[in-house]
């Protein structure tokens, strides 16, 4: 089997690894700026699809389809983001004779319409949040809506998802403006300005359930993930299994997810997302009809390679995995390393990676498309790597995460590495008492050990400059012959 991966970055590399495992060939696609990107070199073949802006390359259905024809593939994997939740794309892929590795176009259409998905959940007997069951646009807000549901409320894009286009309104006075801006953002991000209203519950935990279906009324539940550590509805740290979740609530969640999977006659991998309040009551939010960023933590606790399973299912149409073969063991945590500056309200950053040190060792996994010398730009998503750890128990996993975050070094572009460590070490995270609003008020603590480290860093910087100036060896001097390298090194070693 030959598979085209209609994506870039770490997820493209991840899917290509699965292709290698199974002896399938892989085809990468790339835009101008990605000519040298890791995913293009990782694949067996690479096809150019257009200019750097995603709209002319990774989001161009025509460009991807023509690449699929050109390379003569059997199947197309969309990854996450880009065209993964575009039902027109899925439909065209299938219409042109390729296997679409994902749910049916009908499922993507249904789950993409957040109001329709609400309806399906309600019909399947799964609890939904109080809210309106109709779309609002052109700023026509029913007078009584806020009062019926009770403030605060969330305004969400009907065609939204992935945390985009969600706004909070605390009172009736705010509602009109918030609906305006949410609708504007929705139009921009999804090309549809319709929004709807749901009650905002707080404190709430975000817990999601991994499902896998064969499209023939068999739906497996493959554990859950807690993703409450989010910033502006974007997940930053995920964990499996969800800590402090009692067995009864867990089995009720699994049942609810299975019901939704069955109602959709689900095919391929998917995730059913829920919010859980402080009384362990949960509510359906949405279905993500694709592989998710945080899938590795499920792989680590179940020992199941989700992408391999997904590819085999797409190739054969049959599920060999059985529900009673799925058991969770230990705890896995994922931290998302993003090119954003936590000290400047998470503004996207860019730069050339001049030094890279990727952690490893038992129970440590890094999914990334990074390499030394790579230019990180703001053209695409800011996610540059995922650090995943596994431990026999939660505290081992956390210690492993802290150690691996320390080991992970990326120079040349500002990332959230230090911030992630502060969050993982915080009291609330250690005791698993976090909700989806935790990061909104989180402040990195001033630690004594950091002061000591800062002092040492000042010494290191001064000594480095001192030696450089003294020996007039400049950073820019590139052409150094071997003799000089050795001589210089000997000069430098030693105490003074």
């Amino acid at each position: 089997m030959k598979i085209l991966i209609a994506n870039r970055g770490e997820i493209a590399v991840r899917i290509m690894q699965a292709c290698r495992d199974l002896g399938f060939s892989s085809v990468a696609v790339y835009s101008d700026i990605d000519r040298e990107a890791l995913h293009t070199r990782y694949a067996d073949e690479a096809v150019y699809i257009g200019p750097t802006p995603a709209s002319q390359s990774y989001l161009s259905i025509d460009a991807i389809l023509s690449a699929a024809h050109k390379s003569g593939v059997d199947a197309v994997h969309p990854g996450y983001g880009f065209l993964s939740e575009n039902s027109v794309f899925a439909e065209k892929v299938e219409a042109e004779g390729f296997i679409f590795i994902g749910p049916t176009p009908q499922t993507i259409t249904l789950t993409g319409d957040k109001l329709a998905a609400r309806g399906i959940a309600a019909e399947a007997g799964v609890p939904i949040l109080p809210g309106c069951d109709f779309a609002i646009s052109n700023n026509q807000i029913p007078e009584s809506i806020g009062a019926e549901i009770g403030y605060p409320v969330l305004i969400k894009a009907v065609s939204g998802g992935g945390g985009r286009g969600i706004r909070l309104a605390r009172s009736k006075d705010e509602l009109k403006n918030v609906v305006d801006s949410a609708s504007q953002e929705a139009k921009l991000a999804f090309g549809d300005d319709h929004v709807f209203i749901e009650k905002f519950i707080r404190p709430a935990r975000h817990i999601e359930v991994q499902i896998l279906g064969d499209g023939k009324s068999n739906v497996l539940v493959i554990g859950e993930r807690e993703c409450s550590i989010q910033r502006r509805h974007q997940k930053l740290i995920e964990e499996s299994p969800a800590p402090r979740l009692d067995a009864l609530s867990r089995s009720r969640l699994y049942d609810a997810a299975r019901k939704i999977g069955l109602a959709l006659n689900y095919r391929s991998l998917g995730t059913v997302e829920f919010l859980m309040d402080s009384n362990s009551e949960f509510y359906f939010i949405e279905v993500n009809p694709r592989i998710q960023v945080e899938h590795p933590i499920t792989e680590m606790v179940t020992g199941i390679d989700l992408v391999n399973t997904q590819l085999l299912l797409a190739a054969s149409g049959c599920l060999t995995l059985k529900q009673d073969q799925i058991k969770l063991r230990g705890t896995a945590i994922e931290a998302r390393i993003i090119a954003e500056d936590p000290n400047q309200s998470f503004m996207p950053t860019s730069g050339q990676i001049s030094y890279l040190k990727i952690p490893g060792g038992a129970g440590v996994r890094v999914d990334s498309a990074l390499y030394q010398g790579m230019w990180v730009t703001t053209d695409y998503d800011s996610l540059i790597a995922k650090l995943i750890v596994w431990g026999e128990d939660r505290s081992t996993a956390i210690r492993r995460m802290i150690g691996a975050l320390d080991d992970f070094q990326i120079a040349g572009v500002t990332t959230d590495l230090c911030y992630l460590k502060d969050v993982v070490r915080s009291e609330a995270f250690l005791s698993a008492e976090v909700d989806t609003m935790y990061l909104e008020s989180f402040q990195s603590p001033e630690l004594e050990e950091l002061e000591i480290l800062e002092k040492e860093t000042s010494l290191a910087a001064a000594l480095f400059i001192h030696k450089k100036l003294k020996h007039k060896v400049h950073q820019t001097a590139k052409a150094v012959n071997h003799w000089r390298t050795v001589a210089w090194r000997e000069q430098m070693v030693g105490y003074y």
Partner: protein, 166 residues
């Protein structure tokens, strides 16, 4: 004897080096440096511990220093006789520039407007996210260098606010 002033975040450190003797803020330390490669990777040996650092020159005398568990920008200034000055804020206080390329979604003020602190001035769209730029202080919109729908590059001037004279 040579002196270096190192600025990291809000802190300032004075490092004195005299042959093989080193002081940080007057405290003597015993430390050695070993270069691990020529791309800025080196090791500091201090007491019984060895620690790896990577240094990358940025603009002027600013260096990005990366080590296990920390990444900071350090300004290193050799002191030549007189006391060096902390690097001045380059950015003009009332000048708001685009931090990344984007498209102007909305302009909520016009030139000559009196605006209070934190008033939203411009909304920029970049990477499918809306970013609001607010007034850093109370004042008058002196210059407005953009209009709705226009695209901006990183560093482009967007709005200039003149502080209200008391």
């Amino acid at each position: 004897m040579e002196k270096y002033r190192v600025f990291i975040k809000e802190n300032e450190y004075l490092i004195k080096i005299d042959g093989d003797r080193i002081w940080i803020d007057g405290q003597p330390v015993y430390a050695g440096i070993h270069f691990l490669n020529e791309d800025g990777l080196f090791m500091i040996e201090k007491d019984a511990a060895k620690r790896e650092f990577h240094i990358k020159p940025k603009e002027g005398d600013t260096y990005q220093v990366t080590t296990r568990g920390m990444q900071v920008d350090a300004v290193v200034q050799p002191e030549k006789g007189r006391r060096a000055k902390r690097p001045a804020e380059k950015k003009e206080a009332g000048l708001i520039t685009a931090p990344i390329p984007g498209v102007v979604m909305n302009v909520l003020v016009k030139e000559g407007d009196f605006i209070e602190k934190d008033r939203v001035l411009v909304v920029l769209e970049s990477m499918k996210m809306l970013m609001e730029f607010r007034a850093p202080f109370e004042g008058i919109v002196e210059n407005l260098a953009l209009s709705k729908g226009q695209s901006v590059e990183k560093g482009d001037e967007m709005v200039r606010i003149k502080m209200r004279e008391k």
